[in-house]
């Protein structure tokens, strides 16, 4: 089994999905000849041709909208938004159409599409290339929001998303596109949607995150272990619908929680997780539910980006805080 980074895993999943199902189409800006600005779609045009892979005009609204029309006609479009910062012109299509087509027609029409977008900071990119607004999309009933945290999960979750009969927004943490590799079988095995996963067991505190922040959580957990603190790390993976059970079970074990995400804290998805714990897991809590997140200010341009992003130190501090006597 070969080793692959997350970007290659996305590419492999796309190739696999296209190979196994002729209804799968790929579309977006520069996804064809160029293979995508990150090369996520590299080789697809060459392998599957211009009737399966489409370079679109520069127009995000119609990228999402054309995917809806294709999906209603039983294709399985996988549309790419070049960076999440350019997803907003497509939001009307997601909120008012993709998420509702099945319900609106009582199941007569449906919308099995995937909208992929690289998201998140840490790569010193220009403005709008580093934000994380997954909470906005997770709020929309009828949309699934899925975020992988590693190459194997990216491969399996993307396959699951493409095979899913309903719309999925698939956000790829570009910061870890190339930072590490995992062995990956390319066996067409999907990873389950709607399931959080415990990546590291621990009894003292639960660190909950997704995407690139999982690496930070795991590193923090290791460092905490050196201090004798055993952190459990939960990868949420599917934000909506949320797997509340896995989270509550972990809180039951540890009684302490730190939720980590890059997005601004205010009304970020961490709030939903904290809120569910404050309702259904309150009696398990032995310390305040902490969030380590981006600040509630505009994501800065690269020079000050490091100040904005959550990091291992901030996670460790929060975890230790939870463990300090009240």
């Amino acid at each position: 089994m070969a080793e692959h980074n997350l970007l290659e895993a996305v590419n492999l999943a796309l190739k696999r999905a296209m190979a196994e199902d002729p209804r799968v189409l790929v579309l977006g800006e520069d996804v064809g000849v160029d293979g995508g600005v990150f090369r996520a779609t590299d080789g697809l045009l060459q392998a599957y041709g211009g009737n399966r892979v489409f370079d679109t005009p520069l127009a995000e609204t119609v990228i999402a909208g054309v995917a809806i029309g294709l999906a209603a006609q039983a294709f399985r479009p996988v549309a790419e938004i070049q960076f999440m910062g350019f997803i907003y012109p497509a939001i009307d299509q997601l909120v008012n159409h993709a998420s509702r087509l099945r319900n609106r027609t009582r199941g007569r029409l449906s919308c099995p599409m995937v909208l992929r977008a690289p998201y998140g900071g840490g790569i010193h990119a220009p403005e709008h290339h580093s934000e994380s607004t997954e909470a906005m999309l997770a709020h929309v009933p009828g949309l699934r929001v899925v975020i992988p945290s590693s190459p194997r999960r990216a491969y399996g979750l993307l396959l699951a998303a493409i095979r899913d009969p309903d719309p999925v927004v698939f956000l790829e943490p570009k910061r870890i596109y190339r930072t590490f590799k995992e062995t990956l079988a390319d066996d067409g095995e999907a990873w389950p949607l709607d399931q959080a996963e415990i990546l590291r067991p621990g009894s003292d505190v639960t660190l909950i995150g997704w995407g690139a922040m999982i690496r930070e959580c795991l590193t923090a957990a290791e460092q905490l272990a050196a201090d004798g603190i055993e952190a459990e790390v939960v990868d949420v993976a599917t934000l909506a619908p949320l797997d509340t059970e896995t989270i509550l079970e972990s809180v039951q074990r540890t009684g302490r929680v730190v939720i980590v995400h890059e997005a601004a804290g205010n009304a970020g998805y961490g709030a939903e997780i904290a809120a569910r714990i404050a309702d259904q897991g309150l009696y398990d809590l032995e310390a305040p539910v902490r969030r380590v997140t981006g600040y509630d200010t505009v994501m800065p341009l690269p020079r000050l980006e490091h100040l904005y992003m959550p990091n291992v130190t901030r996670i460790i501090d929060a975890a230790q805080d939870c463990l300090a006597p009240a």
């Binding site: 009737n51 909208g65 995917a67 294709l70 039983a74 319900n103 009933p141 009828g142 619908p241």
Partner: protein
């Protein structure tokens, strides 16, 4: 300075307001039987429309958008389409939806605030009404791409109003359809008003047909109160699209004789005089007078037909009013194909009347 591009927009009409023929009819429509059929469909649509407003006034229907005066657009486009084509309608295309075979009961249900009204028995692939103005234009491009990829000789027909032509999504859809040469026909029901905004304040473009020039394909203008012109020019556009030659835009000049919807009061923003003038141009009178002149239609035929329309509409109203309400749990049954584990509890709650929110 050299000329690098030149464009024209044509206008087509066959019958004037009085029903006088102004040029030879296109062969396929030079057939009294066909024209009588079109007149009947327009009368039926108007009968449906009248009843819908009445139901709304008596609290039996929700907010409703009347198609009064625009019947020729719907019926004409309906005539130009084939069963296997796909319609993506705006919210005022009842005449066209009826022509497509959507049941009146379904239309009443939809406007009565029930999603089941969009689960058409036929045509199964037509899109439901788009309430977001223009939001469905990109879907039309997607549907058309699906046809093209499968090599099917089918056409997507996207209907929208003059107001919608100002929207970016409509423009993006047209531009993409142009560059990908998709089998889609965009039809503007230019009824001169977008709620209170008159056509002239919507765009400085002299015609809405010329919006297509920006997208690199041809736009045509027709007298949208002349069902023959609509059927013919849209029919030509559909043939063009069906033959793999790409999209067309047809602007149909018509008039919204009624209020914007049942919660609107058009008297606030337009004069009675303008509306009276528009009544003079309305689509039924001219075709009726044309067909009466040739003996193909008459008062008696019309009375008979109106009776049948009325029976059909009343039957649909009965069916609509007698349909049992949806069960509360159906709030969740079409959210996803399979309701995710995490949402089952909420479905339970709503079944028990929201008693437990935990």
């Amino acid at each position: 300075m050299s000329l690098v591009a030149e464009f024209t927009v044509d206008h087509t009409a066959y019958l004037d307001a009085e029903g006088k023929q102004v040029q030879p009819l296109p062969a396929a429509l030079d057939d009294q039987g066909v024209l009588v059929e079109l007149l009947k469909q327009m009368l039926l649509a108007r009968c449906f429309d009248t009843k819908a407003i009445e139901l709304q006034r008596t609290g039996q229907l929700g907010t409703y958008a009347s198609c009064l005066g625009q019947e020729a657009v719907g019926v004409g486009v309906g005539h130009a389409m084939r069963t296997e084509d796909v319609l993506l309608p705006a919210f005022r295309e009842h005449a066209l939806q009826l022509a497509r075979g959507v049941h009146m009961t379904e239309l009443f249900l939809y406007w009565g605030g029930d999603e089941r009204g969009s689960d058409f028995a036929v045509p199964r692939q037509d899109f439901p009404v788009s309430i977001t103005v223009g939001g469905h234009a990109p879907h039309a491009a997607g549907v058309a791409l699906a046809f093209k990829l499968r090599g099917e000789p089918r056409v997507a027909v996207c209907m929208f109003g003059d107001g919608a032509t100002s929207k970016g999504d409509v423009y993006e859809a047209m531009n993409l359809a142009g560059v990908w040469q998709l089998p889609v026909v965009f039809v503007v029901s230019n009824n001169q008003w977008a709620i209170s905004t008159p056509r002239a304040e919507q765009s400085a473009a002299a015609t809405l047909a010329q919006k297509a020039i920006a997208a690199g394909f041809r736009g045509e203008q027709v007298d949208g109160n002349d069902v023959i012109a609509v059927a013919h020019v849209v029919g030509e556009a559909m043939a063009h699209a069906r033959n793999g030659k790409g999209p067309r835009l047809v602007e149909c000049l018509t008039y919204r004789l009624g209020d914007h919807t049942t919660v609107d009061d058009a008297a606030r923003y337009r004069s009675d005089e303008e509306v009276s003038r528009a009544w003079h141009e309305e689509p039924l009178r001219r075709l009726r007078s044309f067909l009466t002149g040739s003996g193909a239609w008459g008062q008696e035929t019309e009375d008979d037909w109106l009776q049948r329309c009325s029976d059909e509409v009343n039957q649909a109203v009965d069916d609509y009013l007698n349909l049992p309400a949806r069960a509360p749990e159906t709030l969740f049954d079409c959210l996803f194909e399979t309701l995710p584990e995490g949402l089952v509890a909420q479905q339970q709650v709503v079944m028990t009347g929201g008693a437990d929110d935990g």
